[in-house]
Chain length 247, copies 2
């Protein structure tokens, strides 16, 4: 298999595949001569994985490279690699103002982790991320939202239990590593989408199905989201998609 077929069977343009090779996201093919190489099914699979991480999971090329490098290293135990992959995946807040609010946020995170008996090393970037969210909420005066921390933590705990269970159903360890990567990356997106739908549902007033039309808690239409990216964005949608029931 050469690059053209690789492109055909993945739908990814050949120049992009070359780019992935350059960037180390894709191992080089087996060279059969000075300027010829053989690729196989593993390359096809890898390209699909890269696209999933980048397009669906929203990872940057550099992050995807790191994550895949970690995945490829088989040295460490099954669950240990979760940490490695996670660390490579997270993009911690670049710079944080180290003031009093920040310190309190960090303290709050530490307390939460201890309160729940979670085993977590202090260097886990997610802890910094969480602290920066808490600090931001504090600085915006949205302190009431902090009450939700434990509610979220409950949900996270429950979800993770199920995740681990499903993950361990895998017999072979290679596919476990890949499953892990896919899962960490896509799980966030999946949950966030579900949460949004659940939010819409909760915000939409109940109607005792006497009315055929949708209750429409959401007034804009899907096309609008893209369309506004170019224009001036001054006019927030004159579209009459599904006018508000209560306005």
């Amino acid at each position: 298999m050469r690059i053209a077929e690789l492109s055909r069977s993945t739908g990814v343009p050949a120049p992009t595949i070359k780019y992935y090779l350059r960037e180390g996201l894709l191992p080089p093919g087996e060279r059969t001569s000075r300027n010829q190489a053989q690729y196989d099914e593993r390359h096809v699979r890898r390209i699909k994985l890269v696209r999933a991480l980048v397009e669906v999971g929203g990872l940057s090329i550099a992050t995807a490279r790191d994550v895949l490098a970690r995945m490829d290293a088989p040295e460490h135990g099954l669950l240990t690699s979760l940490g490695k992959v996670q660390f490579a995946m997270s993009t911690p807040p670049s710079a944080t103002v180290e003031d009093e609010v920040w310190d309190e946020a960090v303290r709050r995170v530490d307390e939460l982790i201890e309160r729940r008996g979670w085993r977590s090393v202090p260097s886990n970037p997610a802890r910094r991320t969480l602290a920066s969210v808490l600090a931001t909420l504090q600085r915006l005066g949205q302190t009431d939202k902090l009450d939700l921390l434990d509610s979220y933590a409950d949900a996270a705990e429950r979800i993770v239990d199920d995740e681990i269970e499903v993950l361990l159903r895998r017999p072979d360890l290679d596919s476990l590593a890949e499953g892990l990567v896919v899962w960490i990356a896509l799980g966030d997106v999946m949950f966030s989408a579900l949460r949004r739908i659940a939010q819409e549902s909760a915000a939409t007033p109940r109607v005792p199905d006497s009315n055929g039309q949708a209750p429409a808690g959401a007034g804009a239409d899907a096309a609008d989201t893209d369309a506004d990216a170019d224009g001036d964005g001054e006019d927030p949608g004159p579209e009459p998609a599904s006018p508000a029931p209560e306005s």
Copy 2:
């Protein structure tokens, strides 16, 4: 208040504030003469909000502009605006291969929504996002992960109930709109961080605290994540655990 003080009290460089003004993220100040304008506390607040959405929430400038425009329009009811904001916030997958796998994913999403009795309009971009995640899982052969859908949906439902409850505790409606925006944007980040910490905890083997050192389910350290972005990423981190906090 003029631009310099606006910059001082928010920590955002003056040229960036000018940029935000140009892009319509920030309403223009009240002009007192041909080239002089007055800003006030509302501008300070808005700039902080913009930074929260962009830096912590990860929104693009264009998306933040749309979201804020929606927030500013007070025409629609409290909960209706949730939909508007949500729609503006989501970046649906650009292009999707409309094949058999895709159709099945869409069907699965529809079924889920019906099964749970969720009230959701079909144009909600989160539905497309969710479908694309499911389709991707299918195409990668990670079909076992689809079992988690309901587990996630349960968690999402529970979380949203609590969110709504906290949101409605607000007496005034203006701060509700802002709270909504902050919350939709930061909630994802916050939950994802919590999930990562919970994952680390679940993956870290229990030790009956006979040992002083951390069990370390995660082998890399925080600094490594940035550092690897430039180099080859072959060597997963020989650095010691807690590097000096940069100034």
